[in-house]
């Protein structure tokens, strides 16, 4: 057995070796009542070579996943990476889900960062260091040179003599050894798991109903609560009558939750909580509440009127954010001028699992179990809301039934914590689907005006882009009425096309709801506008769209992002441009791949068409071709979608494919059916009957994913599949019908009738 001293010494030496290590997690308190099946916690005496890795005396390997699993496969990928470098047996590895703790570094499962920004190398380094120490321990045991032995799937083998020892027999010695310098990582040719397809870590539990999501967390003595939230952002309870609600059997209390003043950041909206002995009683009680809501400055928010406001805003000069050459002069002198306006509505995340949290407050301490994308922000926000020290808040992360950005915002966990303190009992807050759609953090609404000039040869000589779209910053600070540089760096300021004269302006767009990031964020509307406009320009120039895009991208080179004429530096998803350049060769390659694989240019029957778009986001390059069929009544069917992705290197190729498959359909939902609108300050939609997402019959008949292995630096995977698909669809509709889709969703815009919506879903 080792002592804490030894472990500290070990951690110290590892830290010197440049490994990412932090304090021991031995101090983590185990919860008496509710333990997640995927959360084990450290055992006494375990060897802990890294905050992400522990090896017990019996050889049991436990990997800590510090990011949240929401379908993107992070729990599988991180175990694969660790197991591969450590040469552990994937099938026997235990997975521990990390609580919110700064020792893990950034835990915000957001921005498609979990693999690309650090975890991949951190996990590889930790696994490789421990593997080398186990090998050295075996070599010492046998009195042979360490180079003569090799770890293999949980044992170390001396090939020359045929001897082998399991990790269990080596841990005691290995942990006393100095950390190897340098740590030698495997060569890619030696990978046994990385780059291969491995069954999902949680697969069996999901298939047998054992997986625990936030909605499934429970504790003995727990109360259930649902909250009646203000229907309009900024409104508060003026007066209420809870008598009828309290008569519902099982309802125990009605408690007012104070709403944070606007801008309310991640804090709760406030409202009335019904606390009961079951979810159903709480839901029934809520229906019986009689409430008068106070006035809000957002009471008149109306999506139809607001669209007109955005159009007027974008038709006047805005604030300059990029000015290269002389766009105004070049537009005036162009042989041909094209202009168009694009509208994309608010969207709701609508993850299949609505938000939920269980909290237990004891004195000034709070323990919570929740489906959160960001346990550290959950911890800090609960601490701020309850005015307790954040060191006293423990956030356990369940599986997430989808996230898409919604579950980065921990208002629901704050509600549970507040109610636990008020009732003195553990409380589970359940958001219903109606809460989720009506009281979330909707994706921004966007109106974009684009103007371009072509020369006589059809080359783009001038480009003016105006964006009117409420920024995410409006939920954190007052007077935020313009799309920000960080949002414009999602497709607009980093636009790859070779144009000598470019001007980008932001136009006023005050927010009247909370605004939150949604899978791929402002890339959704911005890729839609730019990629549709490029298609319009191709047709104006009389060119094939793929040829036109390749010509506009220009020759293979790396763009100098310091010479774009932007007022402020262009963001790059948190990465340095030197490490992750805007690489035209990679844009071209995904575009050429998707064109070839989709059979671009082939003759199609009347009423069918193909559209294309290419877009870089989250450091990954994606191009898509959508093949669409529009029926005589305007019904849209999608025989096939091709999507080519270059994320540098695919750690888990099959999961990269499934993320692309999902992104294609989410983007098609955004384009075809989904729209969150407001009237009198309230959302019009409430559930899946009127907030529509694609179903089985509407999904593309074939989806072909083409992974382009460029060997480039790792990019994101979860989000970058989304942006190019919606514009490729709109461009395909133009090819099929001659009608431009400049406003989303397609809905009923196509002549003669609605798009196909399944019976029973309206």
């Amino acid at each position: 057995m080792t002592t804490t001293m030894e472990r500290r010494a070990f951690i110290g030496t590892l830290a010197k070796a440049g490994l990412v290590l932090a304090a021991t997690s031995a101090g983590v308190r185990r919860l008496e009542a509710f333990e997640l099946p995927h959360e084990h916690g450290p055992l006494a005496g375990e060897w802990e070579p890294s905050v992400f890795l522990r090896i017990a005396d019996d050889g049991t390997v436990t990997v800590t996943c510090h990011r949240s699993e929401m379908g993107q496969g992070v729990r599988t990928a991180l175990v694969m990476v660790m197991a591969d470098e450590l040469e552990a047996d994937y099938a026997t590895i235990q997975l521990d889900q990390g609580i919110g703790d700064n020792k893990y570094g950034d835990q915000n499962t957001d921005g498609s960062t979990s693999i690309r920004s650090g975890s991949y190398m951190k996990f590889r380094n930790a696994g490789a260091a421990a593997r080398m120490m186990l090998e050295q321990a075996a070599a010492a045991e046998w009195g042979v040179d360490a180079s003569a032995v090799a770890a293999r799937s949980g044992t170390v083998v001396h090939a020359a003599s045929g001897r082998s020892l399991p990790f269990a027999r080596l841990v005691a010695r290995a942990r006393t050894l100095p950390v190897p310098q340098p740590v030698v990582l495997k060569q890619p040719s030696q990978f046994r798991l990385i780059g291969k397809d491995v069954p999902g870590y949680d697969l069996r539990n999901v298939l047998t109903g054992k997986a625990v999501f936030g909605q499934d967390a429970s504790m003995p003595g727990m109360k259930y609560a649902v909250v009646l939230h203000p229907p309009v952002y900024g409104s508060k309870v003026a007066k209420y009558d809870a008598a009828a609600a309290l008569k519902v059997k099982g309802v125990e209390k009605v408690i007012e939750i104070p709403g944070a003043p606007m801008p309310s950041a991640f804090l709760p909206l406030g409202g009335l909580a019904v606390v009961a002995t079951s979810t159903w009683a709480a839901i029934e009680g809520r229906r019986k509440l009689v409430v008068t809501w106070g006035a809000s400055p957002n009471d008149s928010y109306d999506s139809v009127a607001y669209r007109a406001e955005l159009e007027a805003s974008a038709r006047a000069e805005g604030k300059k954010v990029r000015d290269l050459g002389d766009a105004g002069g070049a537009l005036a002198g162009a042989a041909r001028k094209v202009e168009a306006e694009y509208y994309a509505p608010h969207l709701a995340h609508a993850p299949m699992e609505p938000p939920a949290a269980v909290a237990k407050v004891t004195g000034d301490a709070c323990e919570t179990w929740t489906c959160t994308q960001n346990p550290q922000a959950s911890r800090d926000t609960i601490a701020a809301f309850l005015k307790i020290p954040k060191e006293k808040v423990t956030v356990h992360v369940t599986l997430l039934g989808g996230g898409f950005g919604r579950k980065s915002k921990p208002d629901y966990a704050c509600e549970a914590a507040f109610l636990s303190r008020e009732t003195g009992a553990p409380v589970k807050v359940v958001w219903t689907r109606e809460d989720d759609i009506q009281n979330g953090f909707p994706h921004t609404v966007s109106l974009q005006r684009l103007e371009a000039g072509l020369d006589a040869s059809g080359k783009i000589v001038a480009w003016r882009h105006r964006i009117a779209s409420p920024p995410i910053s409006s939920v954190f600070a007052p007077n935020q009425e313009y799309h920000t540089d960080s949002e414009l760096s999602l497709g607009v300021l980093d636009m790859p096309y070779e144009v000598p004269n470019v001007r980008v302006e932001v136009c006023k767009a005050p927010a009247h709801s909370r605004i939150g990031w949604y899978r791929s964020v402002s890339n959704v509307p911005q890729a839609f506008a730019i990629s549709c406009f490029m298609d319009e320009l191709a047709h104006a120039a009389g060119k094939d769209p793929v040829e036109f895009l390749l010509a506009a991208l220009g020759p293979e080179r790396v763009l100098d992002m310091t010479k774009t004429g932007t007022v402020n530096p262009v963001g790059n998803y948190g990465a340095k441009w030197e490490e992750h350049p805007n690489d035209i060769a990679r844009h071209r390659r995904v575009l050429q791949t998707v064109a070839k694989e989709s059979g671009w240019g082939k003759k199609l029957p009347r009423g069918e068409g193909m559209g294309v778009a290419v877009h870089r986001s989250f450091l990954t390059y994606v191009a898509s071709v959508v093949h669409v069929k529009v029926g005589p009544k305007g019904e849209v069917t999608i025989p096939r979608v091709d999507i080519a992705m270059d994320c540098g290197y695919a750690v888990h190729p099959d999961r990269v494919r499934s993320q692309c498959e999902g992104a294609v359909i989410m983007s098609l939902s955004n384009a075809l059916t989904s729209e969150l609108t407001y009237k009198n300050g309230r959302t019009v939609q409430s559930n899946y009957n009127n907030y529509q997402v694609l179903r089985m019959s509407q999904a593309p008949k074939h989806t072909a994913v083409h992974l382009v292995h460029s060997g480039g630096p790792l990019g994101g995977v979860g989000e970058p599949g989304v942006p190019p698909v919606a514009p490729a669809l709109a461009n395909a509709i133009f090819a099929a019908t001659g009608k431009r889709i400049r406003s989303l969703p397609v809905g009923r815009q196509l002549a003669g009738g609605p798009v196909a919506v399944p019976a029973g879903s309206r």
Binding site: G71, D197, G209, M352, L399, R655, M696, P700
Partner: protein, 169 residues
């Protein structure tokens, strides 16, 4: 409060319930069978699908009192050891992403296959239309239903090996 008695996954249960409570909340909150999920509460998403007398029903929109005396099967009881053909096929194709909708998808698919040994794509569209997957695993669900039909025809066998699979791009 009425008391209702029915069979869940082969076991007889007797619970006191409010007259208007949907079966979903009895399963989840009272019987602790949390594999059946809440997604919409109004019969729109299929996350709550269970079998009543072998027929797939939306438990969020089925009164608990209406299943008195009947046989209810939830995902926990779909098979004794997780090797129902749909579970094996789902595993082979690594269908789930987040997994939240999948119990409902599996229950609907299992009922489809019980009634139709070799469903066509059109049959699958019709049967699965009420089951939303926001992660959008539809392509794999369709493939897994076809695969499950083959597995069911071939008879019982062991679950997948769990070994890594090499794939061509």
């Amino acid at each position: 409060m009425p008391s209702v008695s029915f069979k869940v996954n082969g076991q007889r249960v007797n619970v006191d319930v409010p007259a208007d409570i949907p079966l979903l909340w009895v399963l989840r909150d009272q019987l602790n069978l949390k594999g059946t999920k809440y997604g919409c509460g109004v019969g729109q998403c299929g996350a709550c699908t269970v079998h009543v007398k072998g027929v797939p029903v939306r438990s969020c929109s089925t009164l608990a009192t209406s299943v008195a005396g009947q046989d209810v099967i939830t995902i926990e009881g779909l098979s004794a050891d997780g090797t129902h053909p749909v579970q094996r096929a789902w595993e082979e194709l690594d269908v789930p992403q987040c997994g939240y909708c999948q119990a409902g998808q599996l229950m609907t698919a299992a009922a489809l296959l019980a009634a139709n040994k070799k469903p066509t794509d059109a049959d699958i569209n019709a049967a699965m239309e009420g089951n939303i997957c926001r992660c959008a695993t539809y392509r794999r669900i369709r493939g897994a239903i076809h695969r499950a039909a083959e597995l069911a025809a071939a008879g019982p066998s062991r679950a997948g090996s769990g070994a890594p699979r090499d794939r061509e791009d």
